[in-house]
Subunit: 151 residues, 3 copies
Amino acid sequence: MKFFTQILKLKTKEELEFINITNQVIEILKQSKIQNGIVNIFSKHTTLSIEINEYEKLLLKDMDWFMKKLAPDQKNYFHDNIKMRENCPPDEPKNAKGHLRSLLMETFQIVPIMDYEMQLGQYQQIFAIETSGPREREIIIQIFGEGEENE
Amino acid sequence: MKFFTQILKLKTKEELEFINITNQVIEILKQSKIQNGIVNIFSKHTTLSIEINEYEKLLLKDMDWFMKKLAPDQKNYFHDNIKMRENCPPDEPKNAKGHLRSLLMETFQIVPIMDYEMQLGQYQQIFAIETSGPREREIIIQIFGEGEENE
Amino acid sequence: MKFFTQILKLKTKEELEFINITNQVIEILKQSKIQNGIVNIFSKHTTLSIEINEYEKLLLKDMDWFMKKLAPDQKNYFHDNIKMRENCPPDEPKNAKGHLRSLLMETFQIVPIMDYEMQLGQYQQIFAIETSGPREREIIIQIFGEGEENE
């Protein structure tokens, strides 16, 4: 049983942003030398989701529309009433909508590894979805399983 | 490879309720003595979801509003037409909305463990979300990975 | 540490379809002879989700209504404007709504195994949810953990 963990750092640019991190995960998997197992792609943030979907430019526009339809920008959310919150600094971002959008998505994805490769289907890409950016973000890439013996 | 499993029991109080179970999971992890691995927090119920998000009082009110907006209380759901269902006792709860809300959320969360600790970010808390309470509930806390040798 | 992986193939029949795959997963688990561990039920498709919920006929009708309410059939999605997409064959299916519905659901489910059995609760069934059918589909059933020594 081998473990290999690395932090993937991102600098997001927009409030709601869809970032393709598939190639970064592939690079880290190569370094791990793990042959059979799983990779856990785990966001360390409540407003940064991890998803698997097709990363197609026009589809990203639909996803953007969809998230804003479900949890609208223009609503008086309780969580955004900063004065009513306990121990809350006045410059706290008004990001209730980001929390709600992330509630519908996932904090992590787990992908099977066989023969040193993630078993993603043809159109499956791994996304980080920023829902309260821009921010500096960290994603744990935790890989474990069977690897080469002579290491 | 070590395995450690424990059942976490909850008594929920409301129909839709957000319960912070982070400390209970931390306690069980301590008992496991597992150093590197994962913890799988797995609900045994179709209307009890597990999520990771920020547990902030006012945000819980937004989440409550959000779930009721997406799957409204006041709708004639097919599943709630108890008479039309096969082999269904007449006192079956009318909980279609709970099933739909849970469909949008997760049955389990998997958190990386490093150096005996869950790698949750600063604001990440583990929630059990009751969507058809009040009920008695069970959550499997399954931990596995590398632990201390001398046990 | 034992690994056992098998591909579950499905032929879906409808555009939006809820398929109970619990028994197939149970059969594969039996073959694996793995006693303690996890099973990862992982869809290889961006428009085939995996969920755990109650598989009750009338509830499936509510789920169908719910998915169509959240991401409606009748909308001009950007992704469905095939001519505007790069390198896209003219017979590409117009399935933006399927991608959006799958964004709200999961690509995989991980179920704990104890004493050779999945630890599903009384009403928990494993679904494959087709969101852009009919199609031929593949689901990876990846099982790992501790098993019988003499194999």
